[in-house]
């Protein structure tokens, strides 16, 4: 029994990883919308690499940055913040479509490179709601 459960768990982990990878690829091709009907909005972000650190900038326009949470795990950063107010998709684009979709929060998972050291992250929020996350690199590498 135990062996089966282990296998099942392994498959489940693999399945989740595949799904994540597929989602990432879809997002990169721009085929996937950057919002979802459950109210989630995916922010734009950029990663810069410096010799000793990574700097991630995230555009959190219209977010209530006092609710921002940034959690780092070994291989990813999870970002979340509520919007200042609920926004309908139709309000953003000034269109008739999307009236039913209300956006309430930003949520995104940013994969971290192998040599990133999530323990030392620093987060800074600029008044214009651009969030800067600095992730040091592990010193032992190289």
């Amino acid at each position: 029994m135990a062996a089966f459960e282990d296998l099942e768990e392994l498959f489940e982990r693999l399945r989740r990883r595949l799904m994540r990878e597929a989602e990432r690829l879809l997002a990169e091709t721009g085929l996937q919308p950057d919002w979802s009907p459950d109210g989630r909005l995916q922010p734009l972000y950029t990663v810069y690499e410096y010799p000793d650190r990574y700097v991630i900038l995230v555009d959190m326009a219209a977010a209530d940055t006092s609710t921002l949470s940034v959690t780092a795990t070994r291989d990813r950063i999870v970002l979340e913040a509520r919007l200042q107010q609920e926004l309908r998709l139709s309000d953003i684009y000034g269109n008739v479509a999307g009236r039913e979709v209300s956006l309430r929060y930003y949520h995104h998972e940013i994969p971290l490179p192998e040599d990133a050291d999530p323990e030392g992250i620093r987060v800074r929020v600029r008044p214009n709601k651009i969030v800067e996350i600095v992730v040091p690199k592990r010193a032992s590498q190289g």
């Binding site: 555009d59 953003i92 214009n128 651009i130 800067e132």
Partner: protein, 240 residues
């Protein structure tokens, strides 16, 4: 194609708002159109070379590139990035059109990818001029020239075509976030544009709506990033 007759006063300026770094041009021309209540008079569509996009504006079907007029100012707005294959014909066409219409200056609005943008409170604006006449426009504006670097994409070709055609083309470049729409950079360019053209441009509303503009333009920003990357060159990040 032009769909309405119009008279252009002189000295006339054609402001180009093509998708580029930080969408500074797009945001600037959209704001001009809105705040000056400019009249839509013409549009550009290449049947086989533009993305298959029809723009619906207040129920009317419009081409992806549109031209608006107000007194001596024309503004070009874009709803989709220019695909790499269309860059050459578009650049030629725009310069030819400006000549035909008797435009005195083409003003290109561009973002300079600035990795340090997050630490800059007030984005700076730089200039590149195609000739002496264009240079005289900014001589006394108190801004620095853009001395060394690259310009990649449609604006680079427009500049080169303008030089060949002896058409004054002034390129205004603002420090901008590389991959985020940057209304603050657009506001700085518009303030300068107001100074050199003498046209009053209120940017208060632009800054008030900055966050909504950033939200709205996320999709276009992503597509633009991709289009610029495909255009290759030294990489879209290497402006400075």
């Amino acid at each position: 194609m032009e769909y309405e007759e119009f008279e252009l006063r002189h000295p006339s300026f054609l402001v180009l708002g093509l998708p580029d770094t930080g969408l500074v041009g797009v945001i600037s021309s959209n704001h001009l159109v809105e705040t000056l209540k400019m009249r839509e008079v013409a549009g550009i569509d290449f049947a086989t070379m533009m993305p298959p996009v029809a723009v619906i504006s207040n129920g009317d079907v419009r081409p992806p590139l549109r031209i608006f007029v107000h007194e001596n100012l024309m503004a070009l707005t874009a709803e989709a990035p220019v695909p790499p294959a269309s860059v050459y014909p578009l650049a030629k066409m725009l310069v030819d059109y400006a000549m035909k219409r008797g435009v005195d200056y083409i003003v290109s609005i561009v973002g300079v990818a600035s990795p340090n943008r997050i630490n800059i409170e007030k984005p700076r604006v730089y200039w590149i001029a195609s000739n002496e006449k264009a240079r005289r426009l900014v001589e006394n504006a108190g801004i620095e020239g853009f001395l060394n670097g690259y310009l990649v994409g449609p604006y680079a070709l427009i500049l080169k075509n303008a030089i060949r055609a002896r058409m004054p083309n002034l390129v205004l470049l603002a420090d901008a976030y590389i991959e985020f729409p940057d209304p603050e950079a657009a506001a700085e360019v518009l303030a300068l544009l107001s100074k050199i053209t003498g046209i009053e441009i209120d940017t208060k509303k632009l800054l008030e709506q900055a966050e909504m503009i950033r939200l709205r333009l996320r999709g276009l920003m992503k597509q633009t990033r991709q289009a610029l990357a495909e255009m290759g060159g030294p990489s879209p990040l290497m402006y400075a």
